[in-house]
Amino acid sequence: MQAERTLQVLPQPEPQARRAEPPVHIGVYDGPLDLLLYLVRKEGVALREIPVARICDAYLRHLHELDEIDVDKAGDYLAMASTLCLLKARELLPKAPTIQGEEEEEDPREALERRLLEYERFRDAADQLGRRQLLDREVFARPMEPVAADEQPIDPTTDTWGLAQVFYGLLEKQSAPPPVHSVAFETYTMADTVRNMLELLDDGEEHTLSELWVDMPFRRARLITFLAALESAKFQLVDLWQRIHLGAVTLQARVRAAEADLSMLADHEHDDRSAGG
């Protein structure tokens, strides 16, 4: 009976409303299951009654509409597309008579339904989690003062990861290629460095210090950036924290780069240079 229903709807033209939709980016979807779930929900049917042919077509149409697709992720989406096409083909064909006890393999349709159902449950759970009163979103605790790394408490029971970060960090540092040429020290001034850093932080997101270091092969540049981070925290241009002992130093801008008043850094210029030397 399912085949009947899907056959019936196959030639259905696309409804008006859908055509009016703006183009969608793949980034909107959190993977093929997410996209599929969205399409199923849009159909307004229960997961168990998915009209496979229609959903398959909608899915393929959606992939075509995406004007940009991440190559790394395309594979997952295409794999799902092939599964859907297979299911669609199976439903269009008359069902082969099954020999008793032969069809042990799980019906791929049921398998897909189960995956979707499971995914949906966790989506719901994620929604429920997201609706809780989150610390630093709806409720606030006393903020932590930025303190030196060695002042931070350590919670070893959760810091196996931290231990690994320390070790692999050391190895990376050890194997870093030596600089091929030297750069004049005067290249970096505190105010410039702070300004550059704020520009990197202008997206308002949290960034770790090591992210800011990515393009800095020289120790001195890193050192100045580190000092700049501390200065910026001191003058409340950024929030600076380590969640765990010796964990990643994380920064988030408090002001926009364009609006930051860096005049107070001029006085510190000399000191910082000598500190860096």
């Binding site: 959190d30 993977g31 093929p32 299951l33 997410d34 168990r48 992720k73 997952d76 799902m80 799980e106 049921e110 339904e113 189960r114 995956r115 159902l117 499971e118 995914y119 449950r121 966790f122 989506r123 719901d124 759970a125 994620a126 929604d127 429920q128 989690l129 997201g130 809780r132 009163q133 989150l134 610390l135 630093d136 979103r137 709806e138 409720v139 606030f140 605790a141 006393r142 903020p143 932590m144 003062e145 303190v147 002042e151 919670d155 029971t157 959760t158 810091d159 196996t160 990861w161 970060q165 308002g204 997101e205 770790t208 929030d239 969640r243 765990i244 964990g247 990643a248 988030q252 408090r254």
Partner: protein, 217 residues
Amino acid sequence: MSDEENVIAFPAAEESAAEEPSGSCPPEHLVPALEACLFAVTQPVPTATLAAALGVSEEQVTGALEALRERQLRTGAGVRLVEVGEGWQLRTEPRMATWVAAVRGGKPFRLSRPALETLAIVAFRQPVTKGDVDDIRGVDSGGILRTLLDRGLLKLAGRSDDPGRPMLYGTTSAFLTLFGMRSLADLPTLRDLRALREDDPEASPVPVVPFPDGDEG
């Protein structure tokens, strides 16, 4: 103010006041002392730690904290006592969020949907491998797991016996604190799959979700 030196306004800054605790906290000071203590630290503090520091019993601590909570409720205070993770913490009243955010400035805290999904999966299924998370989400979750590890919301929890002995992941007490939960028992309930199975007894057995139902242990 002459005695301003004794006032501890900034955690971690002060050294001088950190003398030896002399004896135990007098009963009439217990409530304000606990309030001051919780104000002065940023992380949740376990009952036992408070009891030890104040030289009183854990019962006295919980009794005084109850009185503090009652006072906050009665006076409509903007700061409330909550029990999270393994301890007690003062937090702003949720309805004041708008004004607090306005004074604090900066961007509000956010968790992306992938991050929430991954957290939900690990929370319900822990200990869990990256493969399990990938299977449920249908996409690679390596980057998200890494971010959540860096943020201390997830921890490494040994290795699975599966081929390749992949790492196992679990949630941390920081996870509980972030979401304001006392324990994993506070997790939302997962809609279960029983309805599906009733309809279709032939369906192969679905994986059972080990969900801490009400009581955890």
